[in-house]
Amino acid sequence: MTTIPVLTLLTIVLCAGILIGGLLAVLLDSMVSAVISAGLASLFASVVYVVLAAPDVAMTEASIGSGLTTMIFLYAIRKTQNNISTDKAEDEE
């Protein structure tokens, strides 16, 4: 019977991580950091799906959220940067 609190604890930690990732994605100044934080939410959502016994959904989220979404966002950010010198300063902060 001791296995149930571990799963509950795990779910709480992961859900807190998801919410923090979402909050950071809205609040952070640097756009790249916002995309990375959204990636964190997607990563933990995938583990939550495994906990909820839906490995198919977890696999879809893993294969799409891990790379493809980040990549498309980064391409769009790269294409919409006006000035090369300013964005480099933004990346370094």
């Binding site: 296995t3 990636g39 495994v50």
Partner: protein
């Protein structure tokens, strides 16, 4: 409650250690002074996630959950690589 087996104690200890690792990673993601620090946190979290999913498969006694860990093992480096190449103006 005396009939907790060795295996369950191990799972609990490992899970708690991994929780702490996840919490530290999230803190580094939140406070990281620059973008590279945040990417390092994400890198840590993806790899920890592989171990966590394997542990979940062990806990649920289902062989098939390992397929999800396989996807992460093969694809998780792509997100980090994408951000790294973006930062050095490679894409």
């Amino acid at each position: 409650m005396n009939n907790i087996s060795l295996s369950e104690i191990t799972v609990i200890i490992s899970a708690v250690l991994i929780f702490f690792s996840i919490v530290f990673g999230i803190i580094r993601l939140a406070v990281g002074p620059n973008t590279v620090d945040r990417v390092v946190a994400i890198d840590l979290l993806t790899i920890v996630t592989i171990a966590l999913i394997a542990l979940l498969a062990h806990q649920a006694e289902r062989y098939i959950y390992l397929d999800v860990a396989l996807v992460y093992g093969l694809l998780s480096f792509l997100g980090v690589l994408a951000v790294a190449r973006f930062l050095e103006r490679g894409i």
